[in-house]
Structure formats: C-alpha cells, structure tokens
Amino acid sequence: MSSVTQKKGFGAHVWDYLTTVDHKKIAIMYLAAGTLFFAIAGFEALLMRIQLMFPESTFISAGLFNELLTMHGTTMLFLAATPLLFAFMNAIVPLQIGARDVAFPFLNSLGFWLFFLGAIFLHLSFFLGGAPDAGWTSYASLSLYSPGHGIDFYILGLQISGAGTLISGINFIVTIITMRAPGMTFMRMPLFTWTSLVSSSLILFAFPPLTGGLFLMLVDRMFGANFFDHTMGGNTIIWEHLFWIFGHPEVYILVLPAFGLFSEIIPVFARKRLFGYSSMVFATILIGFLGFMVWAHHMFTVGLGSTANAIFAVATMAIAVPTGMKVFNWILTIWGGSIKVTVPMLYALGFIPSFVAGGVTGVMQATAPLDYQLHDSYFIVAHFHYVIVGGIVTALFGSAHFYWPIMFNRTLNHKLGVLTFWVFFIGFHLTFFLQHFLGLMGMPRRVFTYMGGQGWDLFNFISTIGAMMMGVGVVLLVVDVLLSIKSKPVNKRDYWGDGRSLEWAIETPLPFYNFKQTPLIRGYDPYWIEKEEGNKEGMVYAEPLGEIHMPNNSILPLVMSIGTFIAAFGALYSPWGDQVQAGTATGASPAVSLALIIGGLGLTIACMIIRSVKDDLGFHVTVKEIEKIEADLAHYRATGKKGGNK
C-alpha cells in the first residue's frame, strides 16, 4: 500500500520504483531517463559543433565525429524525445480521461524497462569498442561494411527499445479507447489525448517495419545472411524503404504529442476555448494518415524515377494543409484572448514561428527537383532541427513548466524559466538559422571538417556560439529543476488558475488511485464547465464512493528486460558475424554466444510463463482506506507533515 503521505526508507523507495506499475511513477522514470539521454546527446552535439567551429580543426577525429553524429541522432529521436513525450503521456493522459491507471499497467512498466535497457545497451558501445558510425538512418550500403561492433549495438539496442515503444504505444491506444470516464466521448477528449491516440496508432503501424528491417540487418551482419548485400542477390535499397516507412511516421509520432501539448497550453493562457476543436482533431488524424504516404521523399535522389518522385512530392506537400490548419487554429485561439505570458506560453509563442519556418523549408524540400540541390546539405540539417527543436523540444520544455505542479507538486521558477527560454531560444535560432545558408552555399552535412575561405567560416563560428547558448539553456533548466525540489509544495488544484481539462481538477499531491470516484464528464473542457457552475470539487461523480481495484507492483518487467539485454550480448558476439569473420571485431565461442542468447531469452520467457500461470488479480482499496488516505492527504496539504507508520 503506497501513499504519498507515508514516510519510507531509501531502499524501499528504490524497490518501489523498480517494481512500480503506477503511471505517475513510470512517467517520472521516463522523464529522468529521457533527460539523461537528452543531456548525453546534447553533449555529443556540442562536441561536434566545437569541432566545426573553425575550418580544418583537429579537436576530434573523423571516426569519432561519425560516431558522435550517429549517436546524437539516434539518441535524440529514440532515447530522448520519445521517452520524454511518453513521460507526459503517462503523467497526463490517464488524468485527462478520468482513469485510475493505463489499461495494462504491467505492460507500461515493461515498456519502460525495455526502452531503458535497450538505451543502456546502445550506450555501452562507447566502452566496448566503438559506437555505431553510419548515421541514425544506418543505410545498409554503409552499415553492412562498418568494421567493429558499432552497428551491432545500434541494431540490437534499437530492437529492444523499439519493442518497449511498441508495447507502450499499444497500451495507450487501448487506454484511450476503453478507459475513458463516463461522458468522455471521443469528441470531448482533450487535444493532448487525441494526439497521443493518433501518435500511438502511428507507433503501432510504423514500428513493425523498423523491427522487420532491423531483424534483416541483424541476420545480415551477425549470422551471415544477405538481404541487403547486392553482391549476393540482395537489395540495399530495401533497407532505405523499410527505414523510412518507419522513419517518416516517427517524426509525426514525436511532433503530434508536441502539437497536443501546445493545444493544452495555449487555451489555458489565452483564457479562451481552443479555436476549431473538431478541425484540430481532423487535422491530427489526417497528418497521421498522410505521414505513411510520403516516406520516399527522403529518397528522391536514390533514383526512383520521376513518376514515383512526383507522387511522393505531391503527397508531401499535401501535409502542409492540415498542419496549416493547426497553426491557424492556434493563432486564432490566442487572437482576442486575455493572454497571460507565463513560461509555458512563452514557449508556445516561440514555437509557432519556429515551427512554421521548419515547415516551410520542408515544403521546399518536397519539391523533388529542388531537393537534388538541397539533399545532404546543411539546409536539411537546419530544416529538421527547426522542426524538432522548434516543435518538439519547445513543447517538452514548455510542458515541463506547465505540468510540473501536477507531476511533482512543486513549481519551476518563473524568472529562471523566462531566462532559460530566451537563452535557449536565441541560441537555437543562432545555431540553425545560418545553417540554411551554409547548405545553400554547398556545405555538405555529416562532414567532420571543411576547408577555410569558402565563405562558411563565420556562419559555422556563429552556429557553434548558438549551440553553446542552447547548452547553457539546458543547464539552466536542470538548475531550475534542482531548485524546485526545495521549493514550496503546491498543494492545490488548478495551479495556473485557468485550467480547463480534467487533470487540473484534482488536488495535488495526487493519491495513487487518482480519482476517489470516477468523474462524470459533462462536456468538452469538463473542469472549466464545473468551475463556471461554481463546483468547488472540480468534478461531478459518476459513482458513489466504493472499493477501488488497483494493480499489484511487479519486478517481472525489469527481469524480462534484463533477459533480452543478456540475449543481445549473445547475438552481438556471435562468431558467425561478418565483422568477426573479417577479423575487425571480437567474437565469442559458439557455445558462449548461444548460451547467452538461449539463457537470456529463456529468462524472459520464464518470466512470461510466470506472469501467465500465476494469477495476479491486483488488490482492492476499501472505502475505509480511501477515507484514511484522503484524510492523510488533507492533513499533509494543511500542515506539510507526513503521517502514517514508517
């Protein structure tokens, strides 16, 4: 029985987090892990920028530069942005729909641990003979011949963490479809819940092609198959297709929840209903659908032929229409509102022009003939950083400030937040705006150095200064987070005073069951409706106070993930691997390799069998216990003292 109001020892806390199935605690773990990898990948970016600060610099070697750029991209997309968005989805979506947890709490925990151990596995490559060095796209024509174990770490690490993401995605689809409180119809769902649903559906459809592609590359590299080897009758282009069939939806998987977060932030601080709610929903679904029809625009220069290029060019341009709808809806929500410029709103206001800039350059690249000029130049780097930093990172930073009171019952500092925003935002534009022109001047991307005197020197220098400012911004945010630990607890509902959706109706700190009674939803923006009618409790209830059924904690997800982690080492050191046989990488003996694979997968399967055979029906919180917990919470909010027996 865990309750916020009870004191616990350190060991008990650690055990609690290792075994937890509570969506709020999993959210915190996602947030912490995502921030860690965000910091690592950011540091890699800084090293690259320092190398590119001056022409013909020798700060880092060409090989290390390739490793850094690969790990920067891979980490940022798979291991930083994805888990950080999952952190907010976990923390907020169940509260927005009036649920006590996600549909499959056990799978939620499994998803996290698979992601985390996959990420750790990938990062161990730095210490075990070199990181992957074929770019985050890891094109087969390059990666199949990469010496050492780098690419093997990429394949296996992403395979494991991808499985975790897929599991979490399915979990959210089921949660949002089946766990909505009475009255929460689809067209009353907050936009963040909607975008989480669509983005989870994209995960469901996009990750299987990646898993398939990675599996083919795994057997190609580690067990001597030839799917992508053209000298043996394979086809290297298939990897590119499989990767981008996944890879393009992936960027929408990331940006849609970011759109959703801004759609929550803007109405609160414009103090106006979200403009064009139904068109926002429609645009979200349309973006999700079109996201699958455009992957080949990453491959215009491969030589697919003009017909294919034309089809994919037109489909790509079509995406600008629903995205434009969203932008206009945000602007019209702000328009005429009584605007309060808080830190989250500042990020939202910064987001709109930055993201539009990224979108416009995207449409430029959709023009296939022009893409022949822009392809593989710094223009592309500038474009996708405008979309990802301007769209997703601003959303993450803004919603960290926005949702901190709900997640931690603390607040992030306003003044420091404003400072962080300006340092980061100016640094961001300084870094990437000039890279458009570097690209147009012909500077290719992914190069570790360049000759001086080509007119690139000054822009590269400024770009590096900007990157350092972004680094300072991130450090300031971390300082802000650390300061918030000692700040005063919030202890109230609706911290910002203008909350509209259900998550603001609950008083912080939240009890582990979220809602003592399931709420009844009477319309879009349910909390706003209740406030308008003077309801002090923030919600009306759909049921009397009764027993609550909650899931039990379990260590099995962690053990299962450790099993796959062990098996991955067995595959990595397979003696049948191309690179092992070529003598560039070390391999284990067949017995050791097979023992690790069979032992690791055996451990995972044993846990699955335990989970299937042993019934775990959860536990019931009785009415008496609920009343006790609510009383303890009220006591804590009033006096700041934790009760309960140690």
């Binding site: 297709h241 032929g305 294919a308 399931t518 059924h549 019931h620």
Partner: protein, 114 residues
C-alpha cells in the same frame, strides 16, 4: 465503463459449460497453430526441394494469403463479432491492411519493376 471489479458467481453447470467451451476454443487454437506451422514448412520445403521459380513464387504467395486470413481470424479474433469494441478493432486492422497494401504496391512498382 465503471472501474469496479465485476465479481461473478457461477453455478456448477455454468462452470462446466464454460470449461467445455474454453476447451473447444483451445483445441481450435492449437489446430490453427499447427496448420500455420505446416504451411510455413511447405513453403520452405518447396524452396529446398528445388522446384522451378515459376512454381515456387505463386505457391508461396498463395500460402502467404491463407496465412494472413488465418492470422486475422484465428489469432486476432476477427471472427468473434460479439467482442467489445469490435468496430474499433476492425478499423485498426483494416487501416493496417491498407497501409501494408500501399507498401506492397510501392515495393513492387518502384523497387522490383522500376
């Protein structure tokens, strides 16, 4: 939509009926699984046996088609019309099918023919 646990008390007759029902269902699952394994075996065997490509390709495609249908109906419960939210499930399955078809068309036209 309530979050309470539903406690169901069953009579002995009901219990036995349910048990027989699950048993029949389990048998069906195992049989379908065996058929799947067998079809996969046939596909591999036809390649190993060294039949001409003009024979192997259509046979494998045919077997693949049968396996897709079996997968959807036997293992993804598309035949169970009374399932909760069957409309949503169907929507997801058909969307997935549509996307897979797009990829199939793209692969055949721009990779293998183009």
């Amino acid at each position: 939509m309530s979050h309470e646990t539903h406690v169901e008390v069953r009579t002995q007759a009901q219990y036995e009926y349910d048990k027989a029902h699950s048993k029949a269902h389990m048998r069906k699952q195992v049989v379908n699984f065996a058929i799947m394994i067998f079809l996969t075996f046939v596909a591999f065997a036809s390649v190993v046996a060294g039949f001409p490509a003009t024979f192997i390709a259509p046979v494998i495609l045919l077997l693949a088609g049968i396996q897709v249908v079996l997968q959807l109906y036997a293992f993804m419960h598309l035949e169970d019309r009374s399932t909760h939210m069957v409309g949503v499930i169907e929507f997801f399955i058909w969307s997935g099918g549509f996307l897979a078809f797009t990829f199939f068309v793209a692969f055949t036209t721009i990779i293998w023919w183009g």
